[in-house]
Assembly symmetry: none
Homo-oligomer: 132 residues x 4
Amino acid sequence: MVSINKSKNKPLYEQIMFSIKEDILHQILLPGEKLPSVRELSTQLMMNPNTISKAYKLLEQEKVLVTVKGKGTYVNDEISSKRNQIKVDEIHQKFNELLIEANYWKIKRKEIIGWVNKSFNMEENTDGNSES
Amino acid sequence: MVSINKSKNKPLYEQIMFSIKEDILHQILLPGEKLPSVRELSTQLMMNPNTISKAYKLLEQEKVLVTVKGKGTYVNDEISSKRNQIKVDEIHQKFNELLIEANYWKIKRKEIIGWVNKSFNMEENTDGNSES
Amino acid sequence: MVSINKSKNKPLYEQIMFSIKEDILHQILLPGEKLPSVRELSTQLMMNPNTISKAYKLLEQEKVLVTVKGKGTYVNDEISSKRNQIKVDEIHQKFNELLIEANYWKIKRKEIIGWVNKSFNMEENTDGNSES
Amino acid sequence: MVSINKSKNKPLYEQIMFSIKEDILHQILLPGEKLPSVRELSTQLMMNPNTISKAYKLLEQEKVLVTVKGKGTYVNDEISSKRNQIKVDEIHQKFNELLIEANYWKIKRKEIIGWVNKSFNMEENTDGNSES
DNA sequence: GTGGTCTAGACCACA
DNA sequence: GTGGTCTAGACCACT
């Protein structure tokens, strides 16, 4: 788990954060499960431990992970389903900017909705019907 | 036209690029129209000319603008409606990442589709029905 | 004659110079023939007269054109076939740089030789056999 | 490596770009190898860091280099052998213009083909015969 | 007056 | 220590 695509323009610590969230979403990482230690992951990914550490710390701030001193870092099993309005607003804003870009480059509404549906069908199968 | 919200975490030249694309989309800037000169815009936005220049040059690479040395910078009137697959792929990828984030934070599919529709109705409100 | 492709990265006066040479080569302009006046060409091409003037002046320096005061500018009919070693060296150097670029981008030798032959068959039909 | 002939009419950053490509072609720089840091090269070449930075960034856009923020700039080891049609077309066009110039100045086809062969033998002298 | 190039030097994010 | 961003200001080629 946690595979990183070097040489992207996104900072490594963000890629790690993203990858962990993805794993939680796909239930590769389960609530309460222990994550590899900073040292372990840093050697595995051939990265500076500080980079891993930063990712863990930020995920703690986002309440995605919890660290128990002297024991390790775990997936938070309490608040994972709580809606974080600050995050939602942040994402909303990014969405809007991306939508303007998409508009500029003549990407059709249907195409975008297709992406959205595809993503949601892959991630959560609560309601399988993909037509809006 | 071209107003910038300084003191955001995004680089200024990107904000300028975004703002120009927005203006073109909203037909505040028309194809073939001349943009303010680098110096002019730099004083207007209280920025260094180099920053404006960078934005213009990057937009030229994206085929959004055309610049004629010694004359000025213009909105490209040739390829503005051509689909740029590289850009589309780039946006698609960003979308997918954002969708996973959204999924993680329990944002509903309907909510996102609402954002998409709102954006598209705002931009191309010639026909109100959502068929593109 | 003399058609200019605006919005290229090459300066306009160079494009004019190039275009005139092309016309001479293709015998659209014949030795001794009179060129349009600076004013005439400037209105025809929608350009600043200074730009045309600069092109003419530089072509005079290269002995491609001759200007007779009060009469006009003409294609030089004397030295057009003389080899100008400075120019040849200049071109040779540009060729070498372009060849390294070509090499870098994995363009095959055969492809380049094809370009050369095509160009020479189009321009001069002294020896028609295009195989080396 | 990377030596620059200052005081040519070509911009410094282009000379740097050219020099790096040459070094890659001659295998002085190998795929995946780290380039000198912006500051290092800037002192070595007695130039401003920004100029080096510009060259590196443009080469990144051409997929020649890959830069990892906070780590350094590397020779791209992925796509270096892939044909970039845009670049090829660009070079083709420059070739054609140069060929017309050459034609005008009465440079013989054989002479040009000689240049081409010489360049290709110098670069890929694994097999001396001119079959690519 | 237009954009392009270059220098000098500051500050920041990232590793 | 790495590259990225931004400012300030100079000089140049082009129109």
